[in-house]
Symmetry: D2
Subunit: 113 residues, 4 copies
């Protein structure tokens, strides 16, 4: 991921796009792309499998969300992998296997990570 | 990122949460977390700098979006880094520096990655 | 709805909140509330019926989305009922019953209104 | 609004679309349309005025959000105007003018309705 981040920042800088990439507008972009990703699942049953057309479209939208996420992490001086690892560690304690096994929303929040 | 993905899948599997983590519900989760991220910027001017309180909250929400994104990529058998690199390569051609330098939305789509 | 809009604008003005209610921040608010609404359905099967707890929560979130929608319509000088009626008229032509009956996404867009 | 709701339900029923319009998918649709609305404001300064092009596009997206909101209210047996009026009444008490005048997020939630 280090190389991806490097390439992304070069891409942004050589187009002089940093001035548009303020944190608030990047947060908006993440939401807009997340909705384009969600739109791929509209009107479909939960259990419908991912076929190759959907998989292609998903690759595109997942990429968009990730790229904006990386730009926001850069703008806010956040180490995204470290933040994610920390969150996972916290949630191992928050959701002990004994009370979470096979259960959705074990602490009534909708969080399942 | 490989290690993060490994730890995340172990975390999910040892809690027997795969059955909840179908692609559609993961897509929903990504949107919900993206909105929690966006909420941090509500009613704030674009140029307001990121202070340490906001940075802490951002770390949490960015982590949430990434973790669900990784779970969706796993469920849809997508190599997320490869997908992002491909998207960036495509956009280097789509947004030549000569026509994109310093310009927002150079091809009228709202995409700026 | 006229009375609701009147009361809402009085509520806003007597708190001197118009300055915060610029169109962009209202658009953000609508998305944030829409995600809180969506969160009520996370991890639930499509066919799970709406019980009274969910109905209560839904009333709250639907109200939030509508109130911000009305504030945005006011800020952008839009007659919301007229706009909705026009959209419905256009879609009666766009989705003739003969080609749309019982069919999801009849024109490949995800629109079903 | 009564007439709009009547026309909308006739439109839906004569196309036999009720089976697609379960509450969860309607909640998704509201989020997707809310993001299309938000996308109109991407990369724009907060204070940029609404010109006629943006106003046209906004009419379309505001209409989409409202129509899906009305379908969801119908599916969940919710009186949307009553719910919004109740919410406004509650918030008159929650945000007294004396403590809210000219202040954003007076109770630290991001709610400003």
């Amino acid at each position: 991921m280090e190389q991806l981040i490097k390439d992304l920042l070069v891409f942004r800088n050589e187009r002089n796009w940093q001035k548009f990439h303020n944190p608030k507008d990047l947060a908006i972009a993440i939401s807009v792309e997340a909705a384009e990703l969600l739109e791929l699942f509209q009107w479909r049953p939960n259990e419908q499998p991912v076929d190759s057309v959907l998989q292609n479209n998903l690759e595109n939208e997942i990429a968009d969300v990730l790229l904006y996420l990386l730009l926001l992490a850069d703008a806010a001086k956040i180490d995204i992998l470290f933040a994610a690892q920390q969150k996972l560690e916290r949630n191992k304690l928050r959701f002990p296997i004994s009370t979470s096994y096979g259960i959705a929303k074990p602490d009534d929040s909708s969080e399942m990570i």
